[in-house]
């Protein structure tokens, strides 16, 4: 039956290679598709949450991404590339969301609020490097965060990021360099 989660019985499909799963899903196999959803859904959720800067819309974006993936799987030529293909879909959906959001919000307000800079040393005691990074990432200007996330989570090349965001590669390079330096500096603050 469509729409039901099968009982978790160990099946060779659970550990099948991406290409096998993508091929079967393209043929309409819901079970293979479910394995892909479980395999890459968490990464897509992390990605969407990171780009959108909050959890509120993650469910919608990831769900829409998988619905699109299901409909378009037949057009994916190399099933081995299903992971990056899925990341591209969730990336597009996330960026679309940001665009819609921006239409409702004053341009000046789109950047996340500046992080609390008042007492970094007091915080350093309780905050691990990981949490520090999460904070600093969330406070990056939106364009930098988007580039950084595409690079680090979706594993895009500079050229892919440029194409995706419709920016010159040199701009992407600059945004990433700036993000990297900001992150480095902030990490130093929290050491």
């Amino acid at each position: 039956m469509p729409g039901t989660v099968r009982e978790q019985v160990a099946s060779p499909l659970d550990t099948a290679a991406d290409r096998m799963l993508a091929d079967r899903a393209a043929d309409g196999d819901l079970r293979a598709f479910e394995v892909l959803v479980r395999r890459y859904g968490p990464l897509m959720r992390v990605y969407a949450t990171r780009v959108l800067g909050s959890n509120d819309e993650t469910d919608d974006v990831v769900q829409e991404s998988f619905i699109t993936a299901w409909q378009q799987l037949g057009r994916l030529e190399d099933g081995n590339a299903v992971k990056s293909w899925l990341m591209r879909i969730v990336s597009r959906k996330s960026i679309d969301r940001l665009r819609v959001r921006r239409q409702h919000v004053n341009i000046d307000d789109t950047d996340a609020p500046a992080p609390e800079r008042t007492a970094p040393h007091a915080l350093a005691e309780v905050e691990s490097q990981t949490e520090a990074l999460a904070r600093v990432l969330a406070a990056l200007p939106e364009d930098q965060r988007r580039c950084w996330t595409l690079r680090e989570i979706a594993e895009y090349s500079y050229g892919d990021i440029a194409a995706e965001l419709n920016l010159p590669t040199s701009t992407v390079r600059g945004l990433l360099a700036r993000a990297r330096k900001t992150l480095l500096r902030e990490m130093e603050e929290w050491r």
Binding site: G3, D27, D29, I67, L184, R185
Partner: protein, 215 residues
């Protein structure tokens, strides 16, 4: 903890806006170059980086950032993996078989007003199920080659399959072919001229694909 090693020294030599000052503090390099150098695993070795204490400090900073990045990703992935399954169910509820129904394959009936069909998607499904009931083989893509819409027109079936290691590939493939003929005969009225089975690659061990989830 008494000596001030480069690792402990504060790294303050870069500037967000001024590349000249950045290069001046990094022995002629930029953070971006050092990051690329780190990506390449420090190869080919560049003495102007390796021998510079300032670059070494910056590289340590970059490595620390990378570790933090990885552990943040791991933490987030773990959190997402531990979530309850409801979102998976909700994804599956919202997709439809329609998208992969494919062509309509006629089934005979004596009445002129009857139009009975089985979808290509349903036939591919039964071919997969047939493969899944056998051991040591996984069926991938199944293609119905030919004009399936014309009753009695001979068609061929093209099947990709993966055989588990240590199996006699021709024997397993033949077993699959026979099982598929039986299934097609039972569930459809297709005239099947041949079933071509391509064993594309060996079944990869669980580790390999589980590894894909990490990075």
């Amino acid at each position: 903890m008494t000596e001030l090693t480069p690792a402990d020294r504060r790294f303050v030599t870069f500037d967000l806006d001024d590349t000249d000052r950045e290069e001046a503090g990094l022995n002629g390099h930029t953070i971006e170059q050092l990051s690329d150098y780190l990506d390449r695993g420090g190869l080919p070795a560049d003495p102007s980086i390796d021998d510079s204490p300032d670059c070494e400090i910056a590289l340590r900073g970059l490595e620390r950032l990378r570790r933090a990045q990885l552990s943040l990703l791991e933490r987030d992935l773990k959190r997402e993996s531990l979530r309850n399954d409801s979102w998976v169910a909700s994804v599956l509820e919202n997709i439809s078989l329609e998208a992969h129904a494919g062509r309509e394959i006629p089934l005979a009936h004596s009445s002129p007003t009857a139009r009975l069909v089985v979808t290509e998607g349903a036939v591919r499904g039964i071919l997969r199920e047939t493969g899944d009931r056998l051991e040591n083989i996984l069926v991938g893509r199944c293609v119905l080659v030919g004009d399936v819409s014309v009753p009695g027109e001979p068609i061929t079936i093209s099947v990709d399959a993966t055989v588990f290691p240590g199996q006699n590939i021709p024997a397993v493939a033949e077993q699959l072919r026979q099982a598929m003929y039986v299934a097609l005969g039972k569930y459809t009225e297709l005239v099947v001229a041949a079933i071509d089975i391509t064993v594309s690659d060996l079944y990869t061990a669980p580790d390999a694909s589980a590894h894909e989830q990490e990075r």
